[in-house]
């Protein structure tokens, strides 16, 4: 082969350019706000995180996980060996053979990538991504041939000028994509940014099977500062590792495929949102974006830059307000990107700096501020629902085994039926419990998801203040949203009120009671039943089993929906979405009800008053909707069966 000197030079050039690109990219991320991360520990942990945490997610798609392991693994190995063999000129047959093997592995992987790209699903991006498998093949193929002499398969200097020219062209193409493109914004950027994102992820607790779903509190002292900004106005207001995270996106569209708002035709697509963040952090327009748009919005009109206000030209606020914070995207993302954090960060700016919470948002927030409940009811009427229930008040008893957190369901007639059912079960199991009564306030969930972290923090602190006066070992609530706040978000406010306290959802607690034999149940003899996982119980808190076990304990065989468990589809009720009410083509609740109907179920069991409200809002005919507490109550083997009839009569008269 001629031009022996040429290829090392090309490799060196590509690598130098890659390093320059890397430095530039790192500087783009460093424009973000500081975040305290142990860099060394993160880097050390990174390979393990790749092999376990990331791979566990990719593994859900067996085809892709094998393909990626072959291509990615082959590439990393090849790149290292190429440097040794071709750049540094180690003349060692073993190394050369190893390189050949690595390249072959990569080539085979690339073939499968190629095959998948023949009929790409709509969720994945096209454009430069369609070129990627060919670039991979060019890289692996060309270096394979180039390595043959070193391995002793071909004599040195074989092949004519033509072959050299072709090989050189392929190598330039391959290295352009894989070395240069990696740090200069090509599709391979995902490998570079993705690896570092694993190392410096903002939620380090997520790795090793952990769960980290509570939103991070806003530093409210910024509100007093002239020039301070609450939430995220510009890309540089994100933490630097959030920016890094956006850059890690592979545009696989797994998030898009799961997003209920996207499916409903609302102007939100989590993949596009992350790509717009990339446009923001690097500056430019979205004209090169080659994936699905936000439904109903054309691609190409968005402009942004690191110091431009995001909602002035890059992202329509409607996009941000369409999100139900269901976390389906986060759960699905192989790059472990945190869409919900980003969306709420930007909502915080809109609400706390611009006063632009859409539709009923402002009114609901005003009500929460003035009355501690979203509908503006008199705070003193919070316990009216239980006038006939004779509930022990913490104020009187000071301590109890269980604190029953009633939540704002107290003000809603439908939710009150769930609360009554739960109280009945507690009494039947002789649980020592008490409620806070009028001392309980809204948990702050809605305020926080609507971006009003000031109000959330005020509520959290005041609730903690009340809680700290009493002694109890468990808090149990029928509301997964309050459950999430109490369990995952109240710990940021320096109170010891919940130290050593177990926070439980009512299905978990009831399941314990049933397992202990403290609740006796008749077998359920009704029709087919399916179960809807509330987002804030399942994805936010990992509780998929207790509700199912409860249903099974009544002899119910659950007809599972196609999307259940961690892939459950949102009912549309989270994140304040019913309040901001961004129009789409369909309603999320209708789609979820279709999921339920298609199992043939006549009863949908749920574990959340918000889900109940959303699903019951679907026009009939449709399956009945009941909270698990209500189903249990009906199956309760009650020694005082007469009482229950009277209870029900009383309800009728009510």
């Amino acid at each position: 082969m001629s031009f022996e000197w040429l290829h090392p030079l090309l490799i060196a050039t590509a690598l130098v350019l890659a390093v320059i690109g890397a430095v530039r990219r790192v500087n783009l991320w460093r424009a973000g706000k500081p975040d305290r991360i142990n860099l060394i520990a993160g880097l050390m942990a990174m390979p393990g995180r790749y092999l376990h945490d990331l791979h566990d997610i990719v593994e859900r798609d067996k085809y892709m996980s094998k393909t990626h392991a072959a291509t990615g693994g082959g590439f990393v190995l090849s790149a290292l060996l190429i440097i040794l063999v071709h750049l540094l000129g180690f003349d060692n047959q073993i190394l050369a053979w190893a390189l050949l093997a690595a390249l072959a592995l990569m080539f085979v992987g690339a073939l499968f990538v190629f095959k998948r790209r023949l009929h790409p699903p709509s969720r994945i991006s096209k454009g430069p991504w369609m070129r990627l498998p060919k670039s991979l093949l060019a890289f692996a193929g060309a270096f394979f041939v180039l390595t043959l002499p070193a391995a002793g398969v071909l004599p040195d200097g074989s092949g004519g000028v033509l072959l050299t020219v072709i090989l050189t062209a392929l190598i330039i193409w391959g290295m352009g994509e894989l070395f240069f493109g990696m740090t200069w914004g090509g599709p391979m950027k995902h490998a570079f940014a993705g690896a570092l994102h694993l190392a410096f992820h903002r939620r380090q607790e997520r790795f090793g099977g952990g769960r980290s779903t509570g939103l991070k509190p806003v530093d409210l002292t910024l509100a007093k500062e002239i020039g301070g900004v609450l939430g995220v106005a510009k890309p540089t207001d994100f933490k630097w590792n959030q920016l890094l995270g956006f850059d890690a996106c592979v545009q696989c569209g797994k998030c898009e495929a799961m997003c209920p708002a996207f499916a409903a035709g609302q102007p939100l697509n989590p993949k596009k949102l992350i790509q717009d963040m990339v446009v923001g952090l690097a500056g430019g327009t979205d004209a090169n974006y080659a994936g699905s748009p936000y439904p109903g919005k054309e691609v190409g009109n968005a402009k942004g830059g690191p110091d431009h206000i995001i909602t002035d030209g890059l992202i329509d606020p409607e996009t941000l307000w369409s999100c139900t914070t269901c976390r389906a995207c986060v759960e699905e993302c192989p790059m472990m990107i945190e869409h919900v954090d980003a969306i709420v960060d930007m909502r915080r700016y809109l609400t706390m700096e611009r006063g632009k919470t859409p539709n009923k948002g402002a009114e609901v927030l005003d009500n929460i501020i003035a009355t501690d409940n979203p509908n503006g009811y008199a705070p003193a009427s919070r316990t009216n629902w239980a006038a006939d229930q004779n509930l022990p008040l913490m104020r009187d008893v000071k301590q109890a085994e269980v604190l029953f957190w009633v939540s704002d369901g107290a003000f809603d007639m439908r939710s009150q039926r769930i609360l009554r059912a739960f109280v009945k079960l507690l009494k039947a199991a002789n649980v020592d419990f008490a409620v806070l009564g009028d001392e309980e306030l809204d948990s702050g969930d809605v305020a926080r998801r609507l971006g009003d972290d000031a109000t959330f923090q005020s509520l959290a602190k005041r609730n903690l203040e009340v809680l700290s006066q009493y002694t109890f070992s468990k808090i149990v609530t029928t509301d997964p949203h309050a459950y999430h706040c109490l369990r995952n978000e109240y710990s940021d406010f320096g109170s010891d009120a919940l130290d050593g306290v177990e926070v439980l959802h009512h299905t978990t607690f009831l399941n314990q009671l049933v397992q202990l034999g403290r609740l006796k149940l008749n077998n359920f003899s009704g029709a087919k039943v399916t179960y809807h996982d509330p987002c804030y119980l399942g994805r936010y808190n990992g509780e998929y089993e207790a509700p199912r076990e409860l249903l099974r304990s009544m002899g119910i065989e659950i007809a599972e929906m196609e999307r259940s468990g961690f892939r459950s589809r949102c009912c549309g009720g989270g994140g304040g979405a019913p309040i901001t009410d961004i129009p789409g083509e369909r309603r999320i609740a209708d789609m979820r009800m279709e999921d339920a109907s298609s199992t043939g179920a006549e009863l949908v069991a749920v574990g959340c008053q918000q889900c109940t409200a959303m699903l019951e809002g679907v026009v009939e005919p449709r399956p009945e909707v009941k909270d698990i507490a209500e189903i249990l109550m009906d199956q309760l083997v009650d020694p005082s069966a007469e009482n229950s009839r009277q209870d029900r009569l009383a309800e009728e008269v009510h």
Binding site: L222, A223, K224, E225, I226, G228, V229, L230, T351, M352, E353, R354, G355, K356, T357, G361, A362, L365, D366, I369, A370, T371, D372, G376, Y377, A378, P379, D452, A454, T455
Partner: protein, 272 residues
């Protein structure tokens, strides 16, 4: 919150003052941004074309500058709130009047009545008397200001509007029919400047002797609902009661109109 057509250029040179008080939420009794006062600020913002740099729209309060709820007005996007600091027991009319005169206000907007304190609704009238300006009560909107004359829409019952022309300067009390106030944002609210001026005022002696008590609603007889199904109960609970209607009599003779009023008063038990 679609701002109506309004000639902003003309208004930019106007000096608008919105008077605000500390409100009280009807359900919780908690201090808040008063509803009508915040509508007065909203109208002021509209009139000044959202040019709320503190130049053309002044938001003015007489009382305690430390009151945190004053900031919720600033959260509507104001850089500052001007506060005439005085003894809480003092009568604010005199210093307010003086201040308005001095600052050369063209239009003064207030709520119809305060949500706390005396809540007599007299402030705009007393100020008007003091300043010798006209007062337009219960306005829903100010449509235009041309050549020193403003076209003002007054809110009448049942959604009716009456257009009146009034010469500047004047005082208008803003009705609950005026456009709703924009959201108050926490950041700007916290950052706003309290532009304080200490004033002295005479103590309202008469009021000192008063005793305050929460108002009690007159008890109403419950309607007995004889509904059997949930659907019927729902209907009964949500249906508008029949007797709520009223009528507008425009073309009838004065005698007929008087008779109608007389009949109504009798029916309501005001006249016996």
């Amino acid at each position: 919150m679609q701002p109506n057509q309004f000639n902003v250029d003309a208004a930019n040179k106007l000096k608008i003052v919105s008077l605000v008080s500390v409100g009280k939420h009807p359900q919780s009794g908690r201090m808040r941004r008063a509803d009508q006062d915040s509508r007065a600020v909203e109208l002021g913002l509209k009139l000044t074309g959202d040019n709320h740099s503190g130049e053309s729209l002044v938001v003015l309060h007489a009382g305690d500058p430390g009151e945190p709820n004053l900031r919720s007005y600033a959260g509507m996007g104001l850089k500052s709130v001007r506060v005439l600091q005085l003894d809480p027991a003092a009568d604010a009319i005199l210093p307010l009047g003086q201040h308005l005169q001095q600052c050369g206000a063209d239009i003064v907007l207030t709520g119809v009545r305060a949500e706390s304190g005396e809540s007599s609704g007299m402030v705009p009238y007393q100020l008007a008397e003091k300043l010798g300006w006209p007062i337009v009560p219960r306005v829903a909107d100010i449509v235009s200001v041309k050549g020193g004359v403003a076209e003002v829409l007054q809110a009448l019952p049942r959604g009716q509007r009456r257009s009146v022309m009034v010469k500047l300067p004047f005082i208008a009390s803003v009705d609950s029919a005026a456009p709703e106030a924009r959201q108050s944002a926490f950041g700007p609210a916290s950052r706003a400047l309290m532009d304080i001026e200490v004033v002295s005022a005479s103590v309202d002696d008469v009021r000192q002797a008063w005793e305050e008590a929460a108002a009690r609603k007159r008890p109403k007889r419950l309607k007995v609902v004889k509904a059997k199904t949930a659907a019927e109960r729902f209907k009964a609970a949500t249906a508008k009661s029949q007797g709520d209607g009223g009528k507008v009599m425009k073309n009838e003779s004065a005698a007929e109109q008087a008779q109608a009023i007389f009949d109504l008063l009798k029916e309501e038990g005001v006249l016996r």
